[in-house]
């Protein structure tokens, strides 16, 4: 029943003082040996639950899990820290890391290598990450992580809003105009100041027009025209082009020849991202603060 050596690997040699564990962990963190660092930090916590390094070790454990792509473990480690040390000076770091761990965009193998438009995929993790970041902003508005959290929240909100527009575009194709109107309305009511709002208004105008509800159409058109006069849906003379969403007007000759069998005539829907979308570049995760 002796413990095998590979279990020992990475643990400090000589007597296992608190100091020894912590230093070993620091070395491994710096040389991004995440697994070994995790092993040391957990050993430190188990043997010296109330030692001087206990709290710092728990913070660094969150960071190590995150860098090791163990997002769920990072989130639960952060939750544990928040539960154990609610008043701790650096508890805002734990909230921030929870947001970061669920901000999975671009981390999956598939998304990194193949060009995928995240705004068309499962919005679930984006919502979760947004909720964690907003917890941080609510509790610690002046935390040092607030600015980056703020930037990430804006990006997530844009992503969620754009997802709604994609769905609205599908419902145009399907002929379900009430569904597209409501998706547009959802953006206008829940995602103000996102670049998707101009498209949302255009969706509402187009839907009400197809439902021939002139009064509703006119109010939305007025809001669109005053706020976003340069939206591509407007012709040069400022009138709303109701065929805009259908897409390519001038069919190619091939289209007529092959009786429309050749070209795919998917309606283009509304996607003015080039015009209104602030480019966002995520930064790397920061190291936990020194005590």
């Amino acid at each position: 029943c002796a413990s095998t050596d590979e279990e020992e690997e990475g643990l400090p040699t000589g007597n296992r003082t608190e100091q020894a564990f912590y230093e070993a962990a620091q070395r491994q963190l710096r040389s991004s040996q995440w697994e070994l660092a995790i092993k040391n930090l957990r050993a430190l916590e188990d043997n010296f639950p109330f030692g001087t390094y206990a709290e710092q070790a728990q913070l660094e454990l969150i960071y190590a899990y995150y860098r090791d792509y163990q997002n769920d473990a990072a989130i639960s480690a952060a939750d544990r820290f928040i539960r154990l040390h609610p008043q701790h000076r650096n508890v805002d770091y734990a909230y921030y890391m929870k947001g970061l761990a669920s901000f999975t965009e671009g981390s999956g193998l598939f998304e990194r290598f193949l060009p995928t438009d995240m705004t068309r995929r499962d919005p679930g993790s984006a919502r979760e990450s947004f909720a964690y970041f907003s917890q941080l902003m609510a509790r610690y508005p002046e935390s040092r992580y607030a600015p980056d959290a703020q930037k990430r929240m804006i990006h997530l909100r844009n992503l969620l809003a754009r997802y709604e527009i994609h769905v609205a575009n599908y419902y145009f194709k399907r002929g379900a105009y009430l569904a597209s109107a409501n998706r547009g309305r959802y953006v206008v009511e829940n995602f103000q100041q996102t670049p998707a709002v101009p498209d949302a208004l255009a969706v509402m105008v187009q839907s009400y027009n197809l439902l021939d509800m002139p009064q509703l159409e006119s109010t939305s058109l007025a809001v669109l025209r005053t706020n976003y006069p340069h939206h591509p849906v407007f012709r040069d003379d400022g009138t709303f082009n109701y065929r805009y969403y259908v897409g390519a007007k001038d069919r190619s000759v091939l289209h007529w020849v092959t009786l429309g069998l050749f070209e795919k005539e998917d309606p283009r829907g509304f996607d003015s991202r080039e015009l209104y979308n602030a480019e966002y570049r995520p930064e790397d995760a920061p190291l936990p603060p020194e005590l």
Binding site: R174, G175, A176, Y177, L178, A179, A181, N182, R185, V188, E189, M204, L211, D212, M213, Q215, L216, T219, S220, V223, W256, L259, G260, L261, E265
Partner: protein
């Protein structure tokens, strides 16, 4: 869609909006609160952001052959009070 029609393509029926009938509409009385109207007609699927004082009960069906039929019934409020209706049904006992 494409000019060449494939014979007998199976299309699905696309239904949109609330289903309203005369019996419901007849229960409307002027002055009713929004909660009462909602109880009678159901939650409206079209509450426009920029027109808070009107609820539109639209029922639109495009059947399998592409035939589109649409019915509409709108209720107007002043604050929390029902003041008028318009559309394809008239509340029978509506005064005047």
């Amino acid at each position: 869609c494409s000019l060449f029609k494939f014979p007998g393509v199976h299309r699905i029926e696309v239904q949109q909006g609330n289903i309203v009938n005369q019996e419901m509409v007849d229960q409307l009385k002027p002055g009713m609160t929004r909660r009462q109207v909602r109880f009678v007609l159901g939650t409206p699927l079209l509450e426009d952001t920029f027109n808070p004082n009107r609820w539109d009960y639209v029922n639109r069906v495009r059947d399998r052959d592409g035939e589109e039929t649409q019915k509409r019934f709108t209720v107007y409020f002043n604050g929390d009070q029902l003041i008028a209706t318009s559309g394809d049904w008239q509340p029978a006992s509506w005064p005047g």
